[in-house]
Amino acid sequence: MEPNLGTIVRSISIGPNREETGLESLQFREEIHRLMTVPPENGSSFTELLQLPETQAMELLHSAHSDEVVPVPLSGEPLHGINDDHKSYLPSFNGNLTFPSNKVLIERAAKFSVFASGEHSPETSSVPSDSSANLEKVKSEPAETDSNPNSSQLLVSDPAVNIKNQRSEKRKEREKKGKGCTKKSKIEISQDAEKLPYVHVRARRGQATDSHSLAERARREKINARMKLLQELVPGCSKISGTALVLDEIINHVQSLQRQVELLSMRLATVNPRVDFNLDSLFAPESGSLADSNFHSMVSPLLWPEIPFNGNRQQHQQQWNFDALHRPLWGREEDNHTFITMENSLLNYESANSASLHSNQLKMEL
């Protein structure tokens, strides 16, 4: 009954309960655009936060069929599907529809929408009548394509939003403690209120409505969200509770990393009489040490001319260098299988499939 996320790419296929056609999906699309354009006018992060927990609340309300683990491919398509899924939640405020809610979907959708609304208002504010075009524009922003200029921005904002999401969800759950329905109704009301040009924010139970405290609360939540993300990143921090200790761990981690860098650079400097060491030292021992390295090292330089390597046309030797370097690091990684782009597949020597594929290609070309 649950369509796999891979198939929930088109809005039509979302949700077994809905028999909507593309027309309704268009409707939903417009609704979500409306919703997405409103928050940037408000410009308050609290509304963004509200937008986030609403999806969470929706999930909780419907308590739909979660735990659908779906690997999302690299293309922009899943975002399309995610968008529709997100849209599908919003009308369900009125419609009481249940959807197969993948937690991943929801959170990504929330992230997507908040990201779209909060960070890149130019993109979202320009809502053309052609909703699909807008979708694609907005899609391409958080789209996980290999676009470096956006990358670090995404790096920064995506984790923030992700964690905001998580954090606000947790907070909502904590604060509920039996006040569930009232909370959710408040969220719904405030969500409806977002459609107005200015924000009517309903305060949570037991908290002040002062604008200062609201802003303070929003800021606090932001910081906590990022702290959560940092906790995930730094090993051994997830078990620790309390900001001070987590900060301690983070500081230790950063310091140790910096010390390692110092050590390694010192070592590099001592080992090599000339600093220009990489090519020779990386080639020679590499080809001897690894089992199938000879094979691959033969394969790779011949393959490079065939398949253009996108930023890297300068020197073939350098590209070879990457292979030799990356192999020992990622000998144990299985995640590389998700690479779809050609340049990435070339780096994928660990997986025997791709290696043999390349060799076959090579043989055919020869």
Partner: protein, 208 residues
């Protein structure tokens, strides 16, 4: 180092905490590493073309500097720490020429972009005023502490701890002195990712 490599996919493995497998997506670790390595090698080449025989200290400095600048230029001025790195590197005149050489042809654009970020001058004044305020506040707090109830006291102590640690973190992350807390967190994230990449790449270079 497998853990560190997989941890680099933090932003996109959002499902990790909720359900399932990590999904390295766009900025997967291999791309970052590759980018870093490429730039680093270019930078090192440029350095060695300048001066053939360097003693060990110089090499050390060159290695570090080129690595820093390589990654910072990879960020292209989007993150604050990268800007701070470049700014620090180009500030002292003796390093400046070297740094500019390393950065190569696009160095001028980068330096201009970095210098136009108006964070330095106004923040120095801000920092000074903050320090004065802190000093006056701390003396006030010490006076109050005896008469304050326990809960509030504990809260105060916790806050002080956090403040101290934030301060330390600010000193660690390049350019962190001038940031507010939220940006500090983001910068730390990015910076940690960069440090990991650097360590991985350097380690594989030394052990080959």
């Amino acid at each position: 180092m497998h853990h560190s490599v997989s941890c680099l996919s933090y932003t996109w493995s959002f499902s990790r905490s909720s359900d399932g497998p990590t999904e390295p997506r766009m900025r997967n670790p291999s791309l970052i590493k590759e980018e870093f390595l490429k730039r680093w090698i270019i930078a090192l080449r440029r350095c060695t073309s300048l001066k053939k025989n360097m003693n060990i200290l110089e090499r050390n400095k060159v290695v570090k500097l080129s690595a820093d600048l390589a990654m910072a230029s990879a960020r292209n001025g989007t993150t604050s720490w990268s800007r701070a790195l470049i700014a620090n590197a180009t500030r002292d005149n003796d390093n400046r020429i070297l740094a500019e050489q390393i950065l190569g042809p696009e160095s001028e654009i980068l330096v201009k972009r970095v210098s136009t970020m108006p964070f330095k001058t106004c923040n120095r004044r801000k920092i000074r005023s903050k320090r004065i305020l802190k000093r006056s506040c701390s003396s006030a707090i010490r006076r109050v502490r005896k008469t304050v109830p326990r809960k509030v006291l504990a809260n105060c102590i916790a806050k002080r701890l956090i403040q101290k640690r934030t301060h330390i973190l600010k000193s660690l992350v390049p350019g962190g002195e001038f940031m507010d807390e939220t940006t500090l967190m983001e910068e730390t994230l990015d910076y940690i990712a960069y440090l990991r990449v650097q360590v991985d790449v350097m380690r594989s270079c030394t052990y080959c």
